[in-house]
Amino acid sequence: MIRFLHSADWQIGMKAVHVGTAGDRVREARFEAARNVIALARDRGVDFVLLAGDTFEDNAVDRSLVERVVDVLASSPVPVLVLPGNHDPLVPGAIYESRAFTRASDRVRLLATTEPVTIGAATILPCPLRTKHGHADPTRAIAAEPRSGIRIGVAHGTLRVAGLEGDDDFPIDADAAERCGLDYLALGHWHSHFVAPGCDGAPRIAYSGTHEQTKFGEGASGNALVVTIREPGAPPEIEVVRTGVLEWRQVERQVSEAADVGRIMWDLEAIATPKRALVDATLRGTLPSADLRKLDETRRFLTERFLFVRFDASAVVPSPTDARWIDALPPGAVQGAARRLLAEAAESPVAREALTLLYAFANEREAR
């Protein structure tokens, strides 16, 4: 029997472009999640840890990040096998050639060649990548030998599964596990967890997904897999364990009155650890002009509460029928302008914004 931990796509040093000033926190979370992976390995008493590529976002990430990753990996009680992926391919100048990495302890093993590695009852067959892009199946490097012992492949690429075509970098045939005589093929590259059953119906090929979500809308991420194989040919037992740190919440709502806006706040307040949550809220619909102010209040409230908030209410239109506040405006040019803007508001975001501004100016005296 063999038990190991399958993780991938740590993408350390990743850009976090649309999260405002939360970029550093988002990057830091990936370290925290990495420590969670190693802690999990310790808790479950696995035989080894397998990182199926893209541990680093790029070969040119800051070397201090490499040192920190190596520290995390070195804290593992069992060997950690690191496969170069398409983001960190084994090219000259690669991270894996850097002093920061090569000084790592023996427990951290780079899968630099296709040379099989034996740990306990298992033979690990690595398919390291040496380029950023490629159209060849990396698992072709594994020699189809008669089964002997538990054989575990580790590769990085795009599984060719009908209906799930992603990019065509490093395509991996759906029958790779059978072709190579593998009990389990550990894959990296997809950020969402995915399992493909083999011919025998057993889960022979799996993506662990990234250990920490990288952006909004990325499902089934923030996990690691604890895989147990009892004997050669036995179906692998896969346990999905959460390792992620941050929550990426996306909300899209239709509004028509102030209460709708309040409801969104209510829902988001339910998030237990707001300082570990990023929120992307998109609002559409109409609001009485007087309530447009409410949107700003909500934005302010959320921004203070959460790690990061994207609050897009640009598609919220003032109700065309609501003209009470306009009637209250001083007669003459200002009121005429307000009516003119209201007529344009449904079509023109600028007019909407102008109307909101006018509303704000008109209410300044009250506010003071």
């Binding site: 990743m14 800051d62 100048g93 009121q335 100016f361």
Partner: protein, 901 residues
């Protein structure tokens, strides 16, 4: 408000009181020629109504009547809101102000002083004036309704007038809150935009601009970081290529090393083959030498034996030839001796011929020497004599002057004679001719009879002393410079100095001497010429030695041949005898000598033949013996008999053939091996060296590239890119937000501007409608549509509906004037809707032609139905068509006034 009547006194040009009125409620034409005070009166209305009575200042001083120190005074009767008022004001001197209202048939005081001024302003909704004269902006609606001369165009609309107009029209454009909002929006807008609507930059730039600049800066940094990242990846690719290159070189290097090992083994094998071949070849050579040696011996024996046989045959032959040869020698010797004897005889005759030749030579020399002696001696003697005579003439001293000296002396003598003549001529002459007997006492005593005269000469003065008379003295002019006496003295000195060396005192003797000297010099010259001719280029010594030589020769020859002492030999006969003898003897001797030589040679040949055969004969026995010895030696050397020797010879030949075959096989073996691999080894070694070198360089390049790559990797370019991209995204978001706000403000502002335009349009519509109706009537055609500003002033005209609006500048002078006229009338009509108002026009239409004036009269008449019109003009005829007009002829009123009084 409308006017009822006006009175003024002591006002500008009006010194006497003037009263106009009652005025019609419609059109009033107040006319008079220029300078009758039309404009003064028109302006006096405004002064009276709007100026404080205590007005002061230089402008106010202008109101003071010409040349008088009295206060200008005005009284205006007017109606307003159903009340009839009278206002009386005096300015500058004893200023006062009184407002009265009609009560029944008279007037009652309403207010006085400042209160009266204030009350009038309130009635007319005018603003209080300052210290000086009121400005038209303080005139309330009069500001728009009163047009001073040449100011028909409305340049601005006062605030008061605007308010009154808006009230009259009943529309409102704004409110304090509305204005506050507009100001607030403008304030926010101008934080971002310049007055011209450009984004503010530099100092005080909006956040949009600074954020945009930050974003651009970050983008520049990002571009650099991306370039760094690309450089890192390029360096990685380069290193990979270098590593591949190095690996390929290392592989070539190994292959070459392997090949070199193989080549070196082959080279060794080749060397072994060559050595073996050489050994076999030397064995073959030895066998060949042995066979050749035996063969040589066999041949040598055969040769020796053949030679001995030949020598023995030759010995017999020579012995038979020798006696004949000996006889031949004897015969030849006899012939030689006979010819030698004959030759000796002939040669003795030759001695005589020789002594004849010597005597002939001597005779020739003797004759030549004798002749030379005979010619030379007299020549030498003559030369000697000439030399003596020349020497004698040269030693005599000369006291005669030369030709040049003589001519100098002649010139000096002439100069002296000239000086003397001058002296003589310059002397004073005093002549006394006596008329009666006188006695001269000095310079010498003398008596002169009558008719006798005496002359005294002298210089520089002469005198005659006459007894009983006195001294007669004559003096010449004094100080004449160099006196003729001095000149004479000087000429004398010059002449003496020239003659002194010759010891002569007179020129004639000197001339004689000079002639003598010249003749003597000619003689010597002739002698020298003769001597040179005699020497003929030689010199006396040479001639003398030649003479000696000739003399010695004759003496010597005479000594040798004494018979020549008395008579000289006859050379020609001697020459004849010698030639004859010589011609007979010499050819004979030559023929004999040739014959003797031929005979001697034949003898020698014969002797030689004999000697040769004899010698040969004597040497043959020894030669034969040598051959015999040689044969014995050859046989003794190998000690074999003939048969054994023949067998040995055959054996050696066989052994040699076998060795040759072995050598051929070895050679073939080497040929089959191929060429010498040594060259390949050298080439391969060189190739390996080159590969070693290339591999080392490639290795160094790899190390260098690794260093460069590590440096780049240490930069962590990707992390920089990530950080900058995040920064850029943040800034771009900020920028978009700021831009949205700027756009919204701009949008809001332009919406307000459009709304305001609509409101203004509503406001000015009554004015515009009136003008658009009246102006075409005046002009007599379409004028298009007009645009009015919120201040009720026409702004632009749009000739074509929907076409572009053009400025009023585009209108002709007449049309523009008519537009302003129509506008003033329209304003007056609008303001008169509730209560009649007055419009004051001071000679308004100066550019308008008669045709239009007719139409204007109609328009005025219609306006007169709604408002009061005060028209001041100097062209009353232009308004004659106005049916309802009331006319006031200023000139007539002024003329009438005194009478009225």
């Amino acid at each position: 408000m409308i006017f009822r009547a006006i009175e003024i006194e002591s006002w500008g040009c009006f010194t006497t009181p003037l009263a106009i009125g009652p005025l019609a409620e419609g059109v009033n034409v107040i006319h008079g020629p220029n300078a009758t005070g039309k404009s003064t009166l028109a302006s006096a209305l405004a002064r009276g109504l709007f100026d404080r009575h205590k007005v002061s200042g230089s402008d106010a001083e202008a109101l003071r009547p010409w040349g008088r120190d009295v206060g200008p005074r005005i009284a205006i009767e007017f109606a307003h809101a159903g009340v009839e008022y009278r206002l009386e004001k005096r300015f500058l001197v004893g200023p006062s102000s009184r407002l009265l209202r009609r009560e029944g048939s008279g007037f009652a005081l309403v207010a006085e002083g400042e209160a009266a001024d204030e009350r009038v302003r309130a009635i007319l909704s005018a603003t209080p004036a300052g210290k000086g004269l009121s400005k038209s902006s303080n005139w309330g609606i009069a500001q728009v309704l009163w047009a001073p001369q040449g100011e028909l165009r409305l340049d601005e609309t006062s605030r008061d007038a605007e308010v009154r107009l808006r009230d009259a029209i009943g529309a409102s454009t704004s409110s304090p809150e509305g204005e506050r909002l507009e100001r607030r929006i403008d304030e926010e807008w101008s934080k971002i935009f310049t007055p011209k609507g450009q984004l503010k930059r530099g100092q005080g730039a909006s956040r949009l601009v600074t954020v945009e600049a930050d974003r651009r800066r970050v983008e520049d940094e990002l571009a650099r970081a991306c370039a760094d990242l690309a450089a890192f990846e390029e360096a990685s690719r380069k290193l990979e290529a270098l590593r591949d290159g190095h690996a390929s070189l290392a592989k070539d290097q190994q292959l070459t090393k392997d090949r070199l090992v193989e080549l070196r083994a082959r080279a060794t094998a080749y060397l072994e083959l060559v050595a073996k071949e050489e050994k076999i070849a030397s064995e073959e050579s030895a066998a060949r030498d042995r066979a050749a040696a035996i063969d040589r011996r066999v041949r040598a024996l055969a040769d020796v034996r053949a030679k001995r046989r030949e020598l023995e045959t030759s010995k017999g032959d020579v012995a038979a030839k020798l006696p004949a040869l000996e006889a031949e020698v004897g015969a030849r010797a006899g012939e030689v001796n006979r010819l030698a004897a004959r030759l000796a005889e002939t040669r003795a005759a030759l001695d005589d011929l020789e002594s004849m030749r010597i005597e002939l030579d001597d005779a020739r020399r003797f004759r030549a020497a004798s002749e030379k002696e005979a010619t030379l001696r007299p020549r030498i003697d003559r030369i000697d004599e000439l030399d003596r005579r020349i020497a004698a003439s040269g030693s005599r001293p000369s006291t005669a002057p030369s030709r040049d000296e003589l001519s100098a002396i002649g010139r000096a003598a002439a100069a002296r004679d000239q000086a003397r003549a001058v002296l003589d001529a310059s002397a004073l002459r005093l002549e006394i001719t006596a008329e009666a007997p006188v006695e001269i006492e000095a310079p010498e005593q003398r008596r002169l009879a009558p008719g006798e005269s005496v002359e005294v000469r002298g210089t520089p003065e002469v005198s005659i002393r006459i007894r009983g008379v006195g001294i007669v003295r004559a003096r010449g002019p004094s100080d004449l410079g160099a006196s003729p006496a001095d000149a004479l003295r000087k000429a004398d000195e010059t002449l003496s100095a020239l003659m002194q060396p010759f010891g002569a005192t007179d020129v004639e003797s000197l001339e004689k001497r000079a002639r003598e000297r010249e003749s003597s010099e000619a003689t010597v010259q002739a002698m020298k010429l003769e001597r040179d001719t005699l020497l003929a280029g030689s010199n006396p010594a040479t001639l003398r030695s030649e003479l000696d030589r000739a003399h010695r020769e004759t003496v010597e020859l005479r000594a040798r041949r004494p018979d020549w002492t008395n008579s000289a030999p006859h050379v020609e006969s001697m020459e004849e005898a010698y030639t004859k003898h010589h011609a007979s003897l010499v050819p004979l001797v030559r023929a004999l000598e040739d014959e003797h030589k031929t005979a001697a040679r034949s003898h020698a040949d014969a002797e030689q033949s004999w000697f040769r055969e004899r010698t040969k004969f004597e040497s043959l026995p020894a030669q034969i013996q040598r051959e015999i010895d040689a044969e014995r030696r050859l046989v003794d050397e190998d000690g074999l008999d003939e048969a054994a020797r023949a067998a040995a010879c055959e054996d050696a030949a066989l052994a040699w053939r076998a060795a040759t075959a072995a050598a051929r096989i070895a050679k073939e073996e080497r040929r089959e091996f191929g060429g010498d691999p040594a060259g390949d080894v050298v080439r391969t070694e060189q190739s390996l060296e080159r590969l070693d070198d290339a591999e080392r360089r490639a290795f160094e390049a790899v190390k260098l590239a690794e260093g460069a790559l590590n440096d780049r990797a240490d930069e962590g370019a990707y992390s920089t890119v990530a950080r900058l991209e995040e920064q850029r995204a943040r800034l771009a978001d900020d920028e978009a937000r700021e831009r949205r706000r700027a756009d919204a403000l701009e949008c809001l502002r332009s919406a307000i501007a459009k709304a305001r335009a609509e409101v203004v349009d509503l406001l000015v519509r009554p004015i515009r409608a009136r003008v658009e109706k009246s102006l075409p009537r005046i002009v007599g055609g379409e004028i298009g549509s007009l645009e009015f500003g919120a201040d009720f002033r026409p702004r632009a005209i749009r000739p074509e509906p929907g076409g572009d609006a053009v400025g009023l500048d585009a209108l002709s002078g007449g049309t523009a004037e008519q537009l302003h006229f129509a506008t003033r009338l329209a304003l007056a009509e609008v303001l008169s809707e509730k209560a009649r108002e007055v419009i004051v026009l001071d000679d308004p239409l100066v550019f308008t032609d008669a045709e239009r004036m007719v139409r204007i009269a109609e328009v005025l008449a219609e306006a007169g139905a709604r408002c009061q019109i005060l028209l001041f003009t100097c062209h009353p005829e232009r308004y004659r068509g106005l049916p309802v007009a009331r006319e006031f002829d200023l000139a007539a009123i002024r003329r009438a006034d005194p009478a009225k009084r």
